[in-house]
């Protein structure tokens, strides 16, 4: 199987899904989106959470919030079944379940005044259901915070140059916001200035790693997510997520260019390993019997492994939480809700599954391309004598190394073999930074959503206190 075939199938599926299914069926026939109806962002404007945003800004926010680690770590983990089955699930689940779910939950919230999907449920299932749903989501969000904090901390420990870049990137997003909102600079000029600064910061960060222990990062990121979730959305969230959209397009763009430049390359990985794999994949403790037995059946395990890349209930909490409160026009919703989910599927298939399938066997890739793959990996600290296949690495490392190797292979075909190792290290850091940027965004969005859920859960108390004060 060649890159070309997979690439064409993925692109055709997403374009057809957006225009034929999303636009013509969901937007025009199901939702009947009306550009003249006031959205909650305008109607309930409060300057903190209800603030209308440009659709590209909101797209960046929504994508970065729903993406997190799911579309990257999930498919990277699922590669134990080979690349064919995960790809099939991503395409099917993404188009027919995930994207529909995200878009409709956003519009349900918009038509209910921007309240969360948990409060929308009151209309269909009653008041008790609403509070049970709110309590469940609040606890689930605490788990999401813990999980994503752990992923971001691991990425910073594993790729310390990505930590430096992430810490410099955030203040640059603030500078962008201040240039536009305070200095009154045109968005296009501010974008160019900030993007140049980000590129310089990326080049600078490659030489200066930031070292801290995993535990220290967990503490720092907890404080970060608390502060970031309390700040007004226009101040950090909107400018950072506007820039996140560029990061996303660069990230997916590099994956697309990589695919185009390697269309004739054969995939090193198997289309399918076996239908049932080791229980370790679904969390069995190492060394125990379940971890050694093949009990992880592709179905029904796969929706749990590839969550965000194909479908995720968390997305409805984001769509009806921060996103629905910033939607300026109902016609923006398809692009933001449906489009961001398709982009997430594109990330899973083109930026994770395809590169890992290309770089599956290190020696095989070196033979097929003639580039110093083994030397590059050794320079990145990987013992290629012991680890001969990418699948032997932890999931996050499969992604960063797979992305780095595939992109370095593609660009070295144009630039020649000499910069291969530098290209690999650069693209690997870029991949780790993109992953951490999406994870950090999800981290503070999840914190903000937990605040919304908490507030909605105790709205009855707020009303009673209000009445007591009046008496």
């Amino acid at each position: 199987m060649y890159v070309f075939i997979v690439f064409v199938i993925v692109l055709a599926a997403y374009f057809a899904a957006y225009y034929l299914y999303g636009k013509r069926v969901l937007e025009q026939k199901v939702v009947k989106a009306d550009p003249n109806r006031l959205t909650p962002a305008v109607e309930k404007f409060d300057g903190i959470d209800y603030v209308p945003a440009n659709k590209y800004v909101l797209y960046g926010h929504h994508f970065a919030s729903i993406a997190g680690a799911g579309p990257i770590i999930g498919p990277a983990t699922a590669m134990v079944w080979g690349w064919g089955l995960p790809l099939l699930w991503v395409l099917f689940g993404n188009v027919f379940i995930g994207a529909v779910h995200d878009y409709l939950s956003m519009m349900a919230s918009v038509r209910h005044g921007g309240v969360s999907i948990m409060s929308v449920s009151e209309n269909v299932m009653g008041r008790k259901a609403r509070y049970i749903f709110l309590a469940y989501v609040w606890f689930a969000l605490v788990l999401v915070l813990a999980a994503f904090n752990s992923v971001a901390s691991s990425v910073f420990v594993g790729t310390p140059t990505a930590a430096t870049l992430s810490l410099i990137y955030m203040p640059l997003a603030l500078i962008f916001g201040l240039l536009v909102y305070r200095a009154g600079l045109r968005v296009s000029y501010a974008t160019v200035i900030t993007l140049i600064l980000i590129v310089l910061a990326a080049a600078y960060s490659l030489s200066y790693p930031t070292y801290l222990t995993y535990e220290a990062w967990v503490v720092i990121l907890t404080i970060y997510s608390f502060i970031a979730a309390a700040l007004p959305v226009w101040y950090l969230l909107q400018p950072r997520d506007y820039l996140n959209a560029y990061l996303l397009w660069a990230f997916v763009g590099i994956a697309v260019v990589t695919s185009v430049l390697t269309l004739d390359l054969a995939l090193q990985g198997p289309i399918m390993t076996k239908f049932a794999v080791s229980g370790a994949v679904i969390g069995a403790l190492p060394g125990t019997t379940p971890a050694k037995m093949d009990i992880a059946y592709f179905w029904p395990v796969i929706p749990l492994v590839i969550a965000c890349g194909a479908l995720s209930g968390f997305h409805s909490v984001v769509a009806s939480g921060t996103t629905s409160k910033q939607l300026a026009n109902e016609l923006d919703a398809l692009f933001v809700g449906f489009g961001a989910m398709l982009a997430e599927g594109a990330v899973a298939s083109l930026a994770v599954i395809l590169p890992i399938a290309v770089a599956w066997n290190f020696a095989g890739l070196e033979t097929a391309t003639g580039f110093p793959v083994l030397n590059a990996l050794t320079k990145a600290g990987i013992n290629t004598t012991a680890i001969k296949e990418i699948i032997k690495l932890p999931a996050a490392d499969r992604f960063t190394n797979g992305y780095g190797l595939a992109a370095a292979t593609a660009f070295s075909r144009v630039l020649g073999p000499s910069p291969f190792i530098d290209l690999f290290l650069g693209f690997k850091t870029f991949a780790a930074w993109a992953l951490s940027a999406f994870v950090l965004t999800t981290l503070d969005t999840a914190n903000r959503l937990a605040r919304f859920a908490w507030k909605e859960m105790f709205d009855w108390l707020e009303k009673r206190i209000g009445q007591l004060i009046k008496r």
Partner: protein, 81 residues
């Protein structure tokens, strides 16, 4: 109260910028890295404190809703915000 908040924000921002520059541009370039692998040292802690101050400081310093967002909402709803 608003002035005090603004002053506090300004102080946090200036201190944050100084700590951030010291860590990520002075320490990084002189030592080749911020911190030591596998250890918690003062440099990255100073840098991240600077980072957190930069996040929170300007919000207190310039803490009001931007005029163009206000204008957009006023134009759409017809009411003053």
């Amino acid at each position: 109260m608003a002035e005090l908040k603004s002053l506090l924000g300004a102080a946090m921002t200036i201190l944050g910028v100084l700590l951030f520059i010291y860590t990520f541009f002075y320490v990084a370039t002189t030592k080749g890295a911020v911190g030591v692998k596998g250890q918690v040292t003062a440099d990255p802690i100073i840098g991240t404190v600077g980072f957190l101050l930069i996040l929170a400081g300007p919000a207190l310093w310039f803490g009001e809703v931007p005029v163009n967002i206000k204008k957009l909402v006023e134009a759409k709803t017809g009411r003053k915000v």
